[in-house]
């Protein structure tokens, strides 16, 4: 009955208090010496182990797949499916809790939420995680306090003051409600009350506001829950409540602000971009876009949706800037494109400028030079850092006529050098944002035609998935390690292999989609990927994008860190990450077979 056993650690947090007690009573603790095998490859396990201290190696033959640390558990597969595909070996002196197999199987039978942790299929586990997150999110919103919301200021007017004076005051303070002081009592008067008095009751604007004010004011305190406000407004059919902190009125809460808090305000940013008349307006909107990402994530919006919203906002921003900066002829005879992750709509936290310009025919060189400097300069001032690879409009290689691009493509494919594959990859992900989209379609169609059947080129292209090994040593819980000691690079280890493998297959089959997700679905539809695997691949990808986004948000705003610290993840997330890397490994093997990369 070790009381120290942490029942808050997933998946044990899904057990009822009674189940936790039963489990605790049945736990033993086992010590393993270094290099002792705890579960052999393809052998059944008699217990579920939870690491107390030390490090466990998860191995597939001689391959080291992962290092498990405190609070990690193993191995659900060995327990439920009778054998583990992997071996588990102590790397150092290790202590583990051992939960007897029969007890865990019993809990799996009786508790479906607990059981979901043991599903073989990562996408099922993810569904559970999402459900938990949604509960948290709903919970956090409903637990928010009124003081966290925007309140209209508490402005007072005397009951004897005129309708006219009230109207002016509302206009000045940009509020639709005023407190009315009438001797001892306090009421509220709204813009609608004033309008009705004048229009419907044909009162003079000099009439005192006393007789139009409501003195049955609904009052709440700043530390009341937002949910209570919502309930009260609905029940009493009030559009606003007064907020009183015990001593005085501190403001007015309107239903629209509650709804605004519950929903996101991305459309507000979009509107601001559309209405922008100067570059300064756009700079403000760009800053708000960044803030939106944080808000959306906090509200539990899925990372693929955030990607779409951000891409949409950025597209509007680029498009509006293009209208401001580009000469009229560019707008009709040119196409502004975004490439790379922005092209795939997978950009969440702003990274760098990956953009270009395709012109239908050569233009006046000084005009073009001025545009290049203006456009990239403006984006830099909005906080889009220049592309380190210099893939942006300011580089003449990425702002030129279509015919020049086509010549590049031929050279890249016929005589590939170090940068050719990267250039093909980045251009193949391009998406039009402003101007004549047909130009990009023509360029891409030409690129696809040139690549078609070029087995050797495609194999070399796909080979880049082996640039980075899937990182190991990720799961050790080095809480005490300073610096980047335990951080892992999700982009290199997991996201890049999926993006590039999918891109290689998509290019081979001439798909026009750019988003990795949509490409996976199309590859499934044409029968290249099995439906189950396509779903797993897509889910694993989304999960890693989400972890990366959380890492980026956690890192100070503005930096584009792709490092994720396993010690900051929950053990459930670490377990899912293990599964996700397993999917990446399978996918790499698939790509190897498909493009016959064994030859390299």
């Amino acid at each position: 009955m070790p009381k120290a056993f942490d029942a808050g650690n997933p998946p044990f947090d899904r057990l009822t208090p009674q189940e936790v007690e039963t489990l605790r009573a049945a736990l033993d603790i086992t010590y393993f010496r270094p290099s002792e095998t705890i579960i052999g490859q393809d052998t059944p396990a008699e217990a579920l182990y939870v690491v107390i201290k030390g490090t466990i190696e998860e191995r597939d033959g001689i391959d080291l797949l992962a290092l498990l640390g405190p609070k990690d558990s193993f191995d659900s597969r060995a327990l439920v499916y009778g054998k583990s595909g992997h071996a588990f070996i102590a790397r150092e002196e290790t202590l583990c809790y051992c939960a007897p197999k029969a007890m865990i199987l019993g809990l799996i039978q009786s508790n479906p939420r607990f059981a979901s942790f043991f599903y073989r299929d990562i996408s099922h586990k993810l569904d559970e995680l999402v459900r938990d997150e949604e509960e948290q999110r709903y919970g956090s919103l409903m637990r928010s306090r009124i003081s966290e919301l925007f309140l209209h200021p508490a402005a007072f007017i005397d009951a004897g003051d005129s309708i006219e004076a009230a109207g002016h005051m509302m206009h000045e303070i940009d509020s639709n409600a005023l407190f009315v002081r009438d001797g001892e009592r306090v009421g509220i008067i709204t813009g609608m009350n004033l309008s009705k008095a004048v229009v419907l009751r044909r009162q003079s604007i000099q009439t005192p506001v006393r007789e139009f004010a409501h003195f049955d004011v609904v009052t709440m305190r700043p530390d009341d829950f937002v949910s209570s406000a919502l309930v009260l407004m609905t029940k009493l059919n009030k559009r606003r409540v007064a907020v009183h902190d015990g001593e005085r009125f501190v403001g007015v809460l309107e239903d629209i602000d509650v709804l605004g808090f519950l929903a996101s305000s991305a459309q507000v940013v979009a509107g601001r971009i559309e209405r922008a008349s100067t570059q300064d307006d756009l700079a403000t909107a760009a800053r708000e876009t960044t803030a939106q990402v944080r808000a959306l994530r906090r509200h539990g919006v899925g990372v693929e949706v955030i990607g779409e919203i951000v891409s949409d906002l950025n597209q509007r921003l680029f498009s509006r800037l293009f209208e401001m900066v580009a000469p009229a002829e560019f707008r009709t005879s040119g196409c502004l494109i975004v490439m790379g992750s922005e092209g795939r709509s997978e950009q969440t936290v702003r990274t760098d400028q990956d953009n270009g310009l395709i012109l239908s025919e050569p233009v006046d060189e000084p005009t073009l030079a001025a545009f290049r400097a203006d456009f990239s300069g403006a984006l830099a001032s909005f906080g889009f850092p220049p592309c380190p690879g210099n893939i942006m409009v300011s580089n003449p290689a990425w702002s030129k006529p279509l015919s020049d691009y086509l010549a590049d493509f031929r050279r890249w494919i016929a005589l590939p050098d170090d940068t050719s594959h990267l250039n093909v990859a980045i251009f193949y992900d391009a998406r039009p944002v402003a101007g004549d989209a047909q130009l990009l379609t023509k360029a891409k169609t030409a690129l696809i035609e040139m690549v078609r059947g070029e087995r050797v080129f495609l194999a070399h292209f796909a080979h880049a998935i082996d640039t980075f090994a899937t990182p190991i040593g990720l799961f050790k819980n080095l809480i005490t390690t300073a610096g980047n000691g335990d951080a892992l690079d999700l982009k290199k280890g997991g996201i890049f292999p999926i993006v590039h493998g999918v891109r290689s297959l998509a290019l081979e089959h001439g798909l026009m989609e750019t988003a990795t997700d949509k490409r996976i679905m199309r590859l499934r539809d044409i029968g290249l990927l099995q439906a189950d695997f396509a779903r797993e691949l897509s889910q694993a990808f989304q999960f890693m994008l989400m972890l990366r986004l959380d890492g980026q948000l956690a890192a100070s705003a503005g930096t584009s860190g792709t490092l994720v610290r396993p010690s900051s993840l929950s053990s459930m997330e670490r377990d899912l990450l293990r599964d996700a890397f397993q999917v990446v490994k399978q996918f790499r093997e698939f790509i190897h077979r498909h493009f016959n990369l064994g030859a390299f």
């Binding site: 009955m1 009381k3 033993d28 603790i29 086992t30 010590y31 010496r33 107390i52 002196e93 202590l95």
Partner: protein, 237 residues
């Protein structure tokens, strides 16, 4: 148990009288049904024990709680444990309450030590007893066992601070500063620090220390010593 420093250097002079006592008690035992205490327990099994007491004086203080956990090989059988809260004869001293956070009301609800002893003795049997300053815990228990069945605990004793001393200081040069405190052992073996002054937790931590130290001994692994004396800092910081 508090974190004072113990060095068991008096082994030979201690062991001989203990062997004689054992022989004596084998004859003098009052209740023949407890003869099993003199038989060897199952091979490769030991029992980690810890008592919380009202104070540190064997003559005047009393046992408040007893915890014992069997260890089989490298497996600590927390699922088969012995734990009992017993009523002390003496009133609890307020300082002791602060040490182990048991209120008198908790103690009052527990069975009398006379009720707890039979199941305790059956639980440990002839297995060696593992503890931190285990002589103290055994002396405390003997105070009740002797009038109960007219023997003292005959079990072999395993002192974790001694195992630790061998692993860390066995080859130390003279004048090495020696720290055998509970906290130092926890730290060196990287055993998780559970809330202390709970007999079960203390016994469990002792058990974890024991399995680690025993393995290190088998493999001939030593615990590295770091210099603990202050190093002169030329910067004056």
């Amino acid at each position: 148990m508090s974190s004072f420093i113990v060095i068991s250097t008096s082994a030979p002079s201690d062991v001989i009288p203990r062997a004689i006592k054992r022989l004596f008690h084998q004859v003098s035992i009052g209740d023949q049904s407890y003869r099993f205490m003199f038989e060897r327990g199952p091979a490769d099994e030991v029992v980690a024990i810890d008592c919380e007491t009202t104070g540190l004086n064997v003559h005047t203080d009393d046992i408040v709680t007893i915890a014992a956990i069997r260890i089989r090989g490298n497996r600590i059988l927390t699922s088969e444990r012995f734990e009992a809260v017993v009523r002390p004869e003496a009133d609890m001293q307020p300082e002791a309450i602060k040490v182990h956070r048991l209120r008198q009301v908790d103690v009052a609800e527990g069975p009398l030590i006379w009720k707890a002893l039979p199941s305790f003795l059956h639980f440990v049997g002839g297995r060696p007893l593992v503890g931190y300053y285990v002589d103290f815990d055994i002396a405390m228990l003997d105070k009740y066992i002797l009038p109960f069945i007219e023997i003292e605990l005959p079990n072999p004793r395993i002192e974790v601070s001694k195992l630790y001393y061998e692993r860390k200081y066995g080859d130390a040069p003279p004048n090495t500063s020696i720290d055998l405190s509970f906290a130092a052992i926890l730290r060196d073996l990287d055993v998780p620090a559970l809330p202390q002054h709970d007999a079960f937790n203390d016994a469990l931590m002792t058990a974890m220390m024991y399995v680690a130290l025993r393995d290190m001994k088998e493999r001939g692994i030593r615990i590295p010593r770091v210099r603990t004396y202050d190093v002169f800092d030329p910067t004056g910081g």
